[in-house]
Symmetry: C2
Subunit: 404 residues, 2 copies
């Protein structure tokens, strides 16, 4: 059954749910996805603290202080960072305090060290401090009970720092989907072996492995199976503990029956067998016992685009992300694109920010040789089915794949 | 010595070179940086091949073939993918051929299977094939000797596929810089331990660990050192085999002397001690025996911005990248930004593509509490020193940190 791209995405996304959660040491959580909401269990700062080196005092005492009219206070404490104040500050007294140290009871402001001269237990203060000046109040950044990060958030540097700040040393993150990658085709050869006549090397498994990683999942390479039903079934049965099974080859018009026969023999129900996109039309999607099997074309351009558009959203959902779609933007075509298409066409492209907008350059070699284009591509132009030839300067939609 | 941002970047970049190369299994090369140019050692395709299932024949034989005037040819061979042709095709003959199989000698075109009926060794051809129709010529995508990927390229999915195609099973990639991260401060506590009074948790090391990974480098966490010269020196000597040493804390106005004293004691030459950016001004950069030591502020906002602007380019150069700078773009401010600044200011922001352009929203809490903003930020607004207050709708420069 042939389906539209929307329908293919919809059918597959319906079959999967986020995986279970696991606890992972915070230092290893970069790019992982939080499985639960993070609620602060304490205030931050956890105490009133000084943001600089200076003297904690009662603001009213020094309201009028100036170089001409300094105020002299008795120094009653010295509070290095990491220590706690020993005495409260009362009128006429001050406590020397270092950056990050707790402000003593009674103090209502901090004057920076540069504006004070300390001699023999007395601080001569040459500048005033308003109430709460230079004083970070307990909980002013984060209040205990505050929901600080939502479930489904990808751990970036800010999240990592915030989790550390809150003492979440082993956050619960979604397990990363393990994706079995199996190349089929009697002409496909291992990349380590010398190339025999009539053979080509297995580029699809490696290309897709990178796409799997980019989707926050873990590729598991199952090598190559010859064009024989039994060989493919044997390899697939080894992949039983993976969360998603992706094959390449054996699904295009001619040899279509091969992977379809495998599905039939294994009792995998076919969800659809082609999708209205170019390249990438042959996609044999199947389901057995809740597990998805996806057969992609053996052509790298077709496999790569179908993976991007159809498999990636599934992996993002399984991986617990809230957003399953690449960002899209409008951009100005820098060169004409005239190839007609009966299906939605995806064209590898280079997108660049220029003068407050974006330009996009379609890259050459969109056939089998797409790998050369994909080296420099950071976007795909999305050309709707039935579009007329597009002149340079046309506004097109782009799907952003990587940094601009 | 205080320096401008440009000068700080310049001074640091001058001191480092790309690290040595190592061979890494291709499957593990995602995001690594190629250390040498990749030159194809064979043609691709490695032989003339058929892109579909059909019949290889002499195009002139079937030039006039149509459903009304089919042409009958003798089938002399059957070439599955992965096999080699046994006989040449001569006038009046054809060879059955599968997708990806080598086209036999003599054949000048391929007619797809759907346009042929084969019975008892004879193929009745109902459609013509022009010369070279459905025939991928040896080397038409990549010619032996062609320079296909330049040194310094980051391995994305396309590069990974292309390396596999060319049989580069263990590419030479630059070693990833190992970055020692040491938090200093007697108030700074390990994230695993219960929080004592007067203490705050070490968020900087984790935040920076993520920034280090994002720069393609490897963080090595050296924990926390108390505010004592000897304690810091002990920890730093453990980090001797790292390629770059980053400390946080001990460099701001008040306790500045601490890390400076450490540098003096260790014989590290100071390159500069503050940079004209906000936040992030306190940066104590030093050099000893060709190794860089960088002391950042203990304030997360300052440490994060200074890392982004000053340390990241250094890591990208050490890691062998050709491009050391984040992409920059112009964007429309969605809210006013009125804070004055005597130095170039970086403001965490959310940048989004809208109607062919970009908008950018400055995020709240730019002080210590920046970690909350950094959770959702994907950009930093760059506000030049001395800028007037900026109204909503102003065009500003943004530095893009992550996907739009």
């Amino acid at each position: 059954m042939a389906v539209s791209l929307d329908m293919a995405q919809d059918k597959l996304l319906k079959t999967v749910q986020p995986l279970a959660a696991e606890e992972v040491a915070l230092a290893d959580c970069w790019r992982r996805v939080l499985a639960g909401e993070i609620v602060a269990d304490t205030d931050f700062p956890p105490f009133d603290r000084s943001p600089l080196d200076g003297y904690a005092l009662i603001a009213a005492d020094v309201a009028e202080a100036s170089p001409q009219q300094p105020v002299v206070l008795e120094v009653v404490d010295d509070i290095p960072a990491g220590n706690v104040p020993r005495v409260a500050v009362r009128p006429g007294t001050a406590a020397k305090i270092m950056t990050g140290a707790p402000v003593p009871e009674g103090a209502t402001g901090v004057v920076r060290r540069e504006d004070v001269r300390e001699e023999e237990g007395r601080a001569t203060v040459f500048a005033g401090a308003g109430v709460d000046n230079n004083l970070c109040r307990r909980g002013e950044e984060i209040a205990a009970g505050e929901k600080v990060i939502t479930a489904g958030t990808v751990v970036n540097a800010g999240v990592m720092g915030l989790l550390a700040l809150l003492g979440v040393a082993r956050p619960r993150v979604y397990k990363q989907p393990r994706v079995a990658l199996l190349a089929t085709g009697s002409e496909v050869a291992d990349i380590e072996a010398p190339l025999k006549p009539g053979a080509i090397r297995n580029s699809n498994s490696y290309m897709l492995a990178a796409q799997v990683r980019d989707a926050g999942a873990e590729p598991v390479l199952f090598g190559i199976a010859r064009d024989e039903i039994a060989a493919i079934i044997t390899r697939l049965s080894d992949a039983a503990d993976c969360d998603l099974i992706v094959t390449t080859g054996g699904v295009s018009a001619g040899d279509y029956d091969l992977v379809a026969d495998v599905y039939r023999e294994m009792g995998i129900d076919v969800l659809f067998d082609r999708v209205g996109i170019k390249p990438g039309m042959p996609v044999l999607a199947g389901l057995k016992a809740g597990k998805l099997y996806i057969g992609l074309s053996g052509n790298p351009a077709a496999a790569s685009v179908a993976f991007e558009q159809i498999v990636r959203p599934v992996l993002l959902k399984m991986g617990g992300r809230r957003e399953w779609w690449r960002p899209r933007a409008k951009a100005l075509l820098t060169a004409p694109f005239t190839k007609p298409s009966g299906a939605t066409r995806f064209v590898w492209a280079a997108c660049r920010p220029v003068n407050g907008g974006l330009t996009v350059e379609p890259l050459p070699l969109q056939g089998n040789g797409m790998l050369k284009s994909a080296v420099t591509a950071n976007a795909m132009i999305v050309i709707p089915a039935g579009s007329p030839p597009l002149a340079a300067g046309s506004v097109v939609e782009v799907c952003l794949l990587a940094d601009l």
